[in-house]
Every structure is written in C-alpha cells, then in structure tokens.
Symmetry: C2
DNA sequence: TCATCCGACCTGTCTATACATCTATACTTG
DNA sequence: CAAGTATAGATGTATAGACAGGTCGGATGA
C-alpha cells in the first residue's frame, strides 16, 4: 500500500512513515494559519484531542510542544492551551555568512592576509582582552574578496599563548573562532558581536577601494572561553553597498 | 525537610520541587561546560543514564531534548548522543526595542506624528505592496524621540481598506504591525525586514537634526497576512550614533 | 579472503497510567 | 453576605514497557 506524504484531511494515518505527533502538529498549524483558531483563543484540551484522534495524550503533548517551540501557541498550567499572537516586533537580523553565500552565486571568494605578527597590547586592546598592558598578542589584518573585489576588512587579535607558527592554513578560515582555536590554549565557547553603522575611515576606504563617506557595517567581536574570559577581539568592516541583513518574524516560516 | 534549590553534586533529588529532567539537564550542561565531555565526544546512552540515576528513560530523553534545543548536543539515530561544537559563526543580531529599552534608562520617549493621510500608490509602493498603481493607501510619517531628541524617522504605508478614522491612538504604538491591525481587514502574521547601512539624506538629516553624512541604519519592512500577501510597507531610519545591534552566540548563554 | 547475515546496542515513536499542581467554579459554613 | 472549602478539569511530571529502525562489529559460510 502506498503511503501518503501529505495530509490534507483532518485524519491521522497511524501507518504512515510520518510520525503521528508531526502529522497532528501540521494539522493544528494549518488550522491556526487558516484562522480556524484565532489568536488568544483556547484550543481543545489534550485529552479531547487524544480521544478525538484515538491516540495517547503523550503523543498529543509532543505535537503541542512542537508548536510551542515554534512560538505559535502557549500553555498555561491549569487553564489550557492558547493560540499566541504573532510576535512581529521581536527582531533578530541574520547576517548572511558571506563565505558560504557568495560561492553559491557563482563568485569566487578569496582571503588576502595583509599582516600577521606578534604585537603588544595597547590600552584599548588590553581592556578588551582583560589582560595587562603589553601582553603579547597576535595581530591579523586581512581582507575578504569576491571576484577579486574587496568586501570586508578585518583586524583580529588573539592572546598569544601557544607557540604555533602562523600558517597558511589560517587563510582557509580566518574567523576569530578558528584563529582562537589554532592559537589559544583555551576552548572558545561563546562570542559577542556588536554591530554599528559607520562611515569608512580613510585607511578602510583605501583597503576596500571605495569612495570616502561610503556607509559600512562595523562589527566588533569578542570571543570567550567557557569561563567567560576573553580569548580574542576583532573588528570587521563590511561594505554597506554589498551587505544587508534580513529578518523574518512571525508565523508560518518553517 | 528543607529542599535544595541548587544541585552542585552528581545526584538528583527526586523530592525536589525542581523537575528531575531539569536537574539532569543542568548537570549535563555543567559537565559539558567544564569539559568533562568534549565537543564531538559521545555521551553515555540513555539507558545508561536511566539506570545510573534510577530514573525512567523518558525522563532522560526530556533532559537531553532540552540540551538539544539549546544547541549544546545532538543525537544520531542508532549511534548515540554527542557533544556539539559551539556554533560561533551563526550570527543573529538583536535590534533592541527602543520603546521598551529607553524608558528603562530613565528617559522619556515620545512619538511625533508629522503626517497621516491617504495617498495613491506610486510605482515603487504598488510594487512593494503588490497592488495596482494608484491604489489608496494610508501614509504615516513620524519620528520617535527620547528626551525630545529625535532618534528614528519612519515612513509607513498601509493598504487602505477599513474606513477607520486616523486616531490619536496610533501614537501609542505606531509599529507597522499595529497600524496594520488597526487599518487593514487582514490579520498580519509575518514580517520581513532588511537592514542596510546608509547615510542620511538631506530630508532625514533635517528631521533627525543631525549633520549631513551621519551614518544610519535603514530598515525596510514589509508586513504580510497569513497568505503571504503584503498589508503594509515602511522604512525606518535609525540614528547610527544612538543605535547598535548585539549578538551572543555559543554555549552557556541561558 | 571476502561478502553476507545476525545480533547487540542505540535513538525514535507511541502507549497507558499515575499522580502533582494549578485554575476556576460551585458549594458550604459561619 | 463573606470567607473558606470542596471539586472538576486542565496542564506538568514521571514511569515502565513495547516496538521500529538505524549502526556497527563479529560470526558464519562460500
């Protein structure tokens, strides 16, 4: 017997390869999107679903938990399960990973290492890395290109601990997390980034080959170990005419 | 008997008010952060945990599912459960909601409605809203202030369907989603935003009272109904010297 | 030697049940 | 009438067990 892949009815197929909890979750999602259940309304009780579809309550709970995770419904102990209001004002912008995105468009990406040497921490750097002034650090200066056109200009600093040589290998993945992995003796586990709107400095304009006053995204990143102590710090300057950040919010985004 | 709130040992307290699955999840999280289990390593099997702690396998699974959701571990059917590598390069920037943030800092926020009237869609607008040219829309033009200083300049357009009067009430929440709710007959369920780096135009500089060439965040937003048809469209210009976006990635962020 | 099969072990799904805990309502009691 | 009390009904936690299906290595057989 051929097994259905999509369920457009209100019935569950216990013999399908698709788990029952998933079928029910999709069924509820469809009903909510179609407006059969409206925001704020209470859904039938778990036991009601269980007996209606002839399945166990735990299976119903699994389906409901899927939609709770998706932000579509919420539960209140002792009261019931309710349709949520779409959270249209919570904004999380996604910065597309250029290293993965650009090759997909048929462009060839490159990394040009301008400088990689050991420096002593100045005031700003020692504060960012929470180390004494003059602590040894490795300083990387590089640009990321697509079709030989500069896109990003980066300055990165790692606290110098290992005696590892500075390898060509860095060029494959010059992300702060990878540099930290290669050159620090602590495992990087968390990372903080702050994104600013800015205008290119003269130095950046020269490196990126853009006109003065070009708008850019300026990202300042710190990378930490599992004790929240900094391992590395860096800045990235993204050409504003080549990058944008996108955000999708609400229901039905799969 | 007094009940423990925090478990620093390797034992689970079945009589605690804190659910067993949660205790186990936190215990595993601690072990992973401390490096007792390292990225890529396999964890003990579910049945092993179950018999080790004298609890049911389903309870172990619930604990594991918490950490899977947190991105700390992942499972492979037939093989086992593994410690994930921290995903330090997935970047999602959070745009702080100024309407909620600024009052917290003791500043008073305000909204100044510059204009609210019915217009006819021009080429750009008709394309953004997927309606014929000259379709009636409501155009809002407003600024958001903190301590009477302009912070954001917004232009918003809603497809005109309801005959609702344009009320003072809009001023309480002039978000695109709220305007759509008040003035459109379809329920807004999803929203797309694109953030650009830009420099103020002369008009924006005048409204925001900033110097020419000030960097800004330019956000273009479209709001859709449950059939992914546009309801409204708008642009927001955030002063670059007052706004920044932050992102935290990796483990142990709770 | 090499390929196949089988069994041990793992996670994934589902069930039926029990009890805890919270909410709202109806009822009892002073 | 007011305050406290039972009760029904909802979700939350936990159990023990069954079976499905993927993985891997070792035993078996050609």
């Amino acid at each position: 017997m051929k097994k259905k892949l999509i369920n457009q009815t209100n019935k569950l197929d216990k013999n399908s390869v698709i788990p029952v909890y998933y079928q029910l979750a999709k069924l509820l999602e469809r009903d909510i999107l179609q407006g059969n259940y409206k925001p704020g309304e209470v859904l039938p009780a778990e036991n009601e679903f269980a007996s209606r579809y002839g399945i166990s309550r735990m299976t119903v709970r699994r389906a409901i938990s899927e939609l709770v995770m998706a932000g579509m419904i919420y539960t209140e102990k002792g009261k019931g399960t309710f349709v949520a209001k779409p959270k249209l004002d919570d904004v999380e912008f996604e910065l597309n990973d250029f290293q993965r995105e650009i090759p997909r468009k048929g462009m060839k990406t490159g990394i040009k290492l301008l400088e990689a040497r050991i420096v002593r921490a100045d005031d700003e750097l020692s504060q960012k890395l929470e180390v004494p002034k003059n602590t040894k650090c490795i300083h990387f200066r590089l640009i990321v290109t697509a079709n030989d056109e500069p896109l990003v200009y980066e300055n990165k600093y790692i606290i110098f601990t290992k005696q590892n040589p500075i390898l060509e290998q860095e060029l494959k993945d010059p992300s702060l997390s990878n540099l930290a992995k290669l050159h620090a003796d602590r495992l990087p586990t968390t990372s903080k980034r702050v994104l600013h709107a800015a205008i290119v400095t003269d130095e950046e304009a020269a490196v990126l080959k853009v006109r003065p006053n070009t708008p850019v995204f300026l990202v300042k990143q710190t990378i930490y170990d599992n004790n929240k102590k900094p391992i590395g710090w860096g800045t990235s300057v993204y050409r504003g005419d080549r990058y944008k950040l996108t955000s999708y919010t609400g229901w039905g985004l799969d």
